[in-house]
Structures are given as structure tokens and as C-alpha cells.
Amino acid sequence: MDAPAEKAPSPARNGRTFAPWDDPAAKPFISFDGITKSFGPVKAVDNLSLDIFPREFFALLGPSGCGKTTLMRMLAGFDTPSAGDIRLGGESLLGVPPHKRPINMMFQSYALFPHLSVWDNIAFGLRRDGLPRAKVAARVDEMLTLVQLTGEARRKPHQLSGGQRQRVALARSLAKRPKVLLLDEPLAALDKKLRGETQFELMTLQERVGITFLIVTHDQEEAMVLADRIAIMRAGQIEQVATPEAIYERPNSRYVADFVGDVTILSGTVTIAGPDGVCLAVPGLATPLTLPPHPDARVGAPGHCAVRPENVTLSAAPSPAENAIPGEVFDIAYMGDYTLVRIKTPSGLTVSASRSNRRRTERDPLTWHDAVVAHFAPADAVFLAR
């Protein structure tokens, strides 16, 4: 790509320097404003509002049927919202047909034209723009170099491997230099190893081309790796929008905590709620759990404790500290870099703990049916009101 004029020092990804959503002066680039989309009696998207900022890599994450694909299709122009407005750079996109939107999409099935060569597939959109022949050729060659497919230019899509097809689709959707690139489950058809490599390629690419990326995925790992911010969707609405870190460390609901990563959730009743912390009485545990303070905690109301396995330590002897849960080991899953241990309390609650396998020569002394005590620091857990 030739250097865009605004090529400022590359924003540090997932770091603190690129965070326009925290800047009240920043203008959103894409705005979904009260969007509803009904298919008959079913509301695929239900009164949803969302702002996405320029050059952001934004992920819509959710299970199938949560409305994330419908939302993306409305941005591309293939579906029309039943209510609400979509704006791009402050101007409404409603009434603009898909072929006139400065947005390109990479389809989940890639949707490559089977009768055209790789070269002609990439040139398709450029020719529609009426670019002179030499310019089309230059841009196509540039794209082929970008996705490292220079040698396959004359091939037809059916002569390519899955990974190569994915790259042709990417090159084709980037060739017109759209203002927004939509990626619909872009890596779903690739095997795990190739997916991992391609994730990093996509990140590098997004930084280089400086285009706003919107990715739809059901794969939480993919969203975490790629995105600056993630919106977790559920039944047509957004549960939480935050950076991957915030989603993982500070989920706002059991749904989000459970959707992203492994988590232990213990439910009970709030006994103390104050600026120093929250106490949660969990049926089946002898002592209440101590959790960090939370504005939504009300004494007497139901509440939940969410704690990640890596924050839970296991010890053989009863520990005097807070949040100690005695139980018995009933599941050990060796994952390579860590081992996931699940313990069960006499009352039937399950707690997961992960143990890093850094010292590979040392055998883990834990085994099935060992009596252990699970423990976590109050600051490492999260109180959830819903």
C-alpha cells in the first residue's frame, strides 16, 4: 500500500495509546443508532446502538443466531434495518445501495467468482470503478504481493488451497481501498494452525492499511487476539463492549464471563455491600466469599462470584485466608502449557483451577480424589449482579 497521508506513528495495539473510545472528543466513524431488524415476529437485532472509531479493529462476538451477522449485513447494505439509523462518517447509509457503499466485505464462504482467475477476481471491483487499465494492473499486483499470491495470479479458485482462497478473498475486498472492511467469520474454514498464523497476518495487515475492520466471529479466542474492542452479543442486543482485557478481567454479567474463557461461577446472596468489598453467602460453603466492591451489589439481593482458573490456587492444607473452598479433585485435564484441575465440594459445587506446567520434569503430585483447598484472593475475583 502506498502510505496514507494520516500515517501517524502506528498505534500500539491493545495498549493504552490507541483508545479513542475513552476520548470524549473522538468522533465515531460507524454509528448504529437504535437499530432493530425483525424477520417476521423474530427480532434478530433489537434496538441496538454502537459506535466504532476510525482505524479500530472491532469484533462482534456471540453464538450463532445472536444477530451479529445481521448487523454486519445491514452495514454492507444487504439487509435493511426495520428501525434506526446507520451512519458512516456522520452520514446516513440508509438508502445507499450496497454497490455504492465505501465498504467491502470478506464473505465467510469467500464467494470467489469461480469462472474468474485470481487476478480477475481481485480486479473485479477495480474495473467497476472505471480505473484505467494500467492502474488496475498495478493495484492487483500490489494486492497479490500483499497477500503473497503473486505466483497464483492465473489460477482459478478451485485450483487453490483453502488458505490461498481466504487470501484471495481478503485481497479482493481490500483492493478498492474501502473505508471499512467487514470480515464474516474470516478464519472459520481454516485449520487451527493456519488460523493462528493468519490471525497475526490480519493484525499486521490492518495496521499497515489503516482501514477500520469489523469482524464477526463466534470464536472468542479469535476476537481476543484480533480486536481492539469486542462487543459480546446475545439475542439481538449487546451485553458488553470493552477491550479484550476488560472483557476477560471485568465481565459485567455471567453470560459474558462464561462466553469468554474458562470461569468458575458461584451464586449466592449478598450479605455485606460497601466500599471495602462485597460478601456473598453461597449455599454449600461454610463461610461467605469476600469480593471486591461493586456499585450494583445490594444486601439481600442475589449475586455471583466469577473467578478465572488461573487465579485459583490449590493447597493440601486448610489455609487461614479468605475464600478457601475445601473439596476433592475429580477432573484433571492436561492441556500442554497448563493443567486444568476441577474440584468438587462435598455440597456439589465445582471450582476450576489451572496449574502452569513450567517445570516439566517435576511431576504434579495432585491426583484424583485428593482432598485439597481451593483459594483465591478477593481482588482476583469479580462480583456480578446478573
Binding site: 454492507a76 464473505f107 464467494a111
Partner: protein
Amino acid sequence: MRAPRPPRRGLLAAALPYAWLLIFFLAPFLIVLKISFSEAVIAQPPYSPTLSLGEGWSGLLAAFAEFTTFNYEFLGEDALYIRAYLSSLQIAATATLITLLVGYPIAYAMSRAPRAWRPLLLAAVILPFWTSFLIRVYAWIGILKRDGLINEALLSVGLIAEPLTILNTNTAVYIGIVYAYLPFMILPLYAALERQDSELLEAAADLGSPPLHAFFAITVRLSLPGIIAGCLLTFIPAVGEFVIPSLLGGSDTLMIGQTLWNEFFLNRDWPLASAVAVLLVLVLVVPITLFQRAQGRAL
């Protein structure tokens, strides 16, 4: 990787269609070819020489010595035959084009219809085959004649003052061919259109292609194999069509199928009729084979 198949069964599967072609196409064709090199005589059968295996090799060789290319020379000399060939090709080509223009929207609508309707629509396309072809062509006489359905209807609404002459013109022949071969056009078109991925059209739109351009660049382009199949299925039988021009055509309708029938039954000149038939096959098969080979490479 696929496991190697037992070779013998594969051979049998490949041999069956060839045997079918050999028995039902090649053998009759060779008989016709042989007659076309004979001479017409007033006898039973009405040509000479006849091959009889009873006289052994010498008899066969003697018969071969009598073969003549006279019939082919005659076809070249008489302008009637060349005109009949050219007129047949022209009528068949025009009718095929009209059939394509009528059939494509029908096939397109069928392929975009709700999935539950499609079997019903397909059945409706095939339904005419349940009646005899001859009877259906006869029915058109009742529709097209001077006091037929079309004229009656147009007169009664006052669109025309005088009944139109449609029957016994080339127009009636076009109508008949388009009607008769429409299903053969629609079915391959439908098959090609139905399996098209609608996401390709969205991709085209996404890349800046307005609906009409996307229709021709994607939908029509990808249905090209269906278009070719439908056109060949219409064009080939239409060139040799005999029933439709004889029943619906007029005195100036000149088609090679009628010429062939006349030579065979009116003039009882079997060798000449055979030569007409052989030439017809060559006229059709050679260009079509070349065309299909070129297409196979392009697709």
C-alpha cells in the same frame, strides 16, 4: 485419496454407454451411410447394390465396387437442397434464440421461487410430455387458424378488424418450435441457475456492481453451460424437424426434414434421402463437436 476401484466393474460401467451408442446410433447410421452410396432402382428394396452375406467375400467386394458418390454430387448440383439446408439452419437458429429468450426468465423465476414450490413448477414444465407431441402440434392449428382462438380473441376485443394469417406461415413454424422445445431449454437452464450461490451476487454488489451488471457478469455468465446445453437440445432436433413445418408451415416453408421425407416416401429415392440424412448429420455434428471442445476448454 480414493481407494483404487476394482478395474473390471469400472470397465463394465464404461462399456455400457458405448454399447448403447454402438447399437442404437452407430449401426443405423452405418446402414444409412451404406444406402447413401447406392443407386436408386425400382425393386425391393429400392436400391442397388444390396449386401448379402450368402455370396461370401467376393459378393461383398463386388457390392463395394458398385458404390457411387452420385447422390452427393447431385445434392451439390441442385440448389433446392442447399437452400433447404440453409433455410433449416436459419429457422432452427432463430427459433432457438427465441426459445432461449422465453425460457431464461422462466428458468430464472423457477430457480428463485420458494424451495417448496420448485418441484411443482418443474412438474408443470414437464407436464406437456404426458400428451402426444403430434396432438399438441395439431392443437396449435386450432389456435392459429383464421377462425382460431387467437383471431377470435383479438377480433372480439377489437384489436384487429381482419383475421390475421398466422397458420401456414414461417411464424407458425417458429411458434411451434418454440412451444415444443421450451422444456428442453428450461430444464438445463434451471439446473444451472438453481445451484448458483446467491452470495456471489452479493459479492458482486459489494464490489460495486449494480444489479443489472451483476446479473450479466455473474448469473448469466455462470449459467453459460446451461445455455449451451439448452440451445443444443433445441437447435439440433429443430434443424431436422419434420412434423412442425408440415403441419404449421406453408408452401414457402423449406426445411430439410420435409425434403428428406419427400425423397423417401414420394420419390422413393432411398439413396438420395440417405445422402440428405448423412449430410445433415455432418452439418450438425462437426461444428457442434468443435464448439463443445472449445467450450470445455474455456469453462
